[in-house]
Amino acid sequence: MIRISNLQKSFGKLEVLRGIDLEVARGEVVALIGPSGSGKSTLLRCVNLLEQPTAGSIVVDGEEITAPGFDVNRLRQRVGMVFQHFNLFPHMTVLRNVTLAPVLTGRLSAKDAEDRALELLARVGLRDKAAAYPDSLSGGQKQRVAIARALAMNPEVMLFDEPTSALDPEMVKEVLEVMKRLALDGMTMMVVTHEMGFAREVCDRVLFMDEGQLVEQGAPKQLFSNPQHPRTAAFLNAIL
């Protein structure tokens, strides 16, 4: 589904990604973990070209998205993204937040988009908040709306950039619950997270990144209980 080869990204002199090779299969759920500044978020943001890679290639569903002249808008319609700070549109109702992109991109008529949005909102348990404005929602509710908004485009891949890091502890669970169901439904997911419980329970594979490199990867059980690399061991020791 996603094949990343020798991906590099620099901001000026700062090398954030130093040659990442990674494949994610269709329906696979991978967690990206690692200390802050390790390049996890940048890697994720390269996959939908919110960051333009400096070198290397990314192939999504057989198409090289890093090729010059590739239509980024079409790519992004297939790759959903959920942000740490939700980034809901505050001047629109919850419903409009979810229907906006499918209608503007011409995928669905206004009526169909609304039906689909209500169905998605029901799926994240917020059908009754359709007419509310984001201001009036809790952090957990906002993030669930953001997930519904991304799903409204029927993406083949979902990227989650620390989706629970800005939430109060009691709201983390409701968001992870929604993500877990999504994973069970067969969605291909890349999740940057500090929730080791989620990584262990839901993800097929855990990738440990440090200083712009993929240091170690493996099944959650194996990586958590028996890390091979000393940096992985040190990181897990520090947070678990």
Binding site: L50, M81, N87, F89, P90, H91, A101
Partner: protein, 224 residues
Amino acid sequence: MRWDIIPVFVPIIFQGVKITLQISALGILFGTMIGLVVGLVRSQKPANPVLRLLYGLATLYVEVIRGTPFLVQLYLMYYGPIYLFRLDLPAMTAGIIALSLNSGAYVAEIARGAIESIDRGQMEAGRSLGLTFVQTMRHIILPQAFRRALPPLANEFASLIKESSVISVLGIADIMFKAKTVGTAHFAVFPALLVAAVYYLVLTGITSQLVRLMERRLGHSDSH
């Protein structure tokens, strides 16, 4: 002091209100249009060389307008075309162009500030959903920026109405011109100016009330 002359002045100077309203309304209209375009151009420094040039020109325009007195701009606009192209611009036209260009620079700075004040995540969220830059600007960034721009815009519109009095030096029969002429003719400049002041106060008062009303109707777009 001849207070009794005031009732005579009130209707005469009122004739100027229509002209002041006309030039101000046109100044606000064109100034806002210029300001929106220039503000958009100035809201992000582009990499593309053509857009880069446009950005430079927009910056130059804003700096020149903000760095020179309106009176000088007005005379330049009035005498410039005759001097350079033998084009005799009517005073009214020159006045409205000068006022629009002047206001445009200030509106541009307001627009730029408002656009830049919208969280970067809003643009990213729009783009991540597959919307184009223009769609994201139009449906997500600008509506929020507009709401934030309203209070400073109200200020700008009020100051444009006041500034429009300068145009009277070209002999345009606005509030200020009427007050000066009728006051001089009756040897009662002070009462005439008082009447003019009240008219300006009413016009700017109405303008800020209108903008405040608009703000309230757009209630829902400020916080995240």
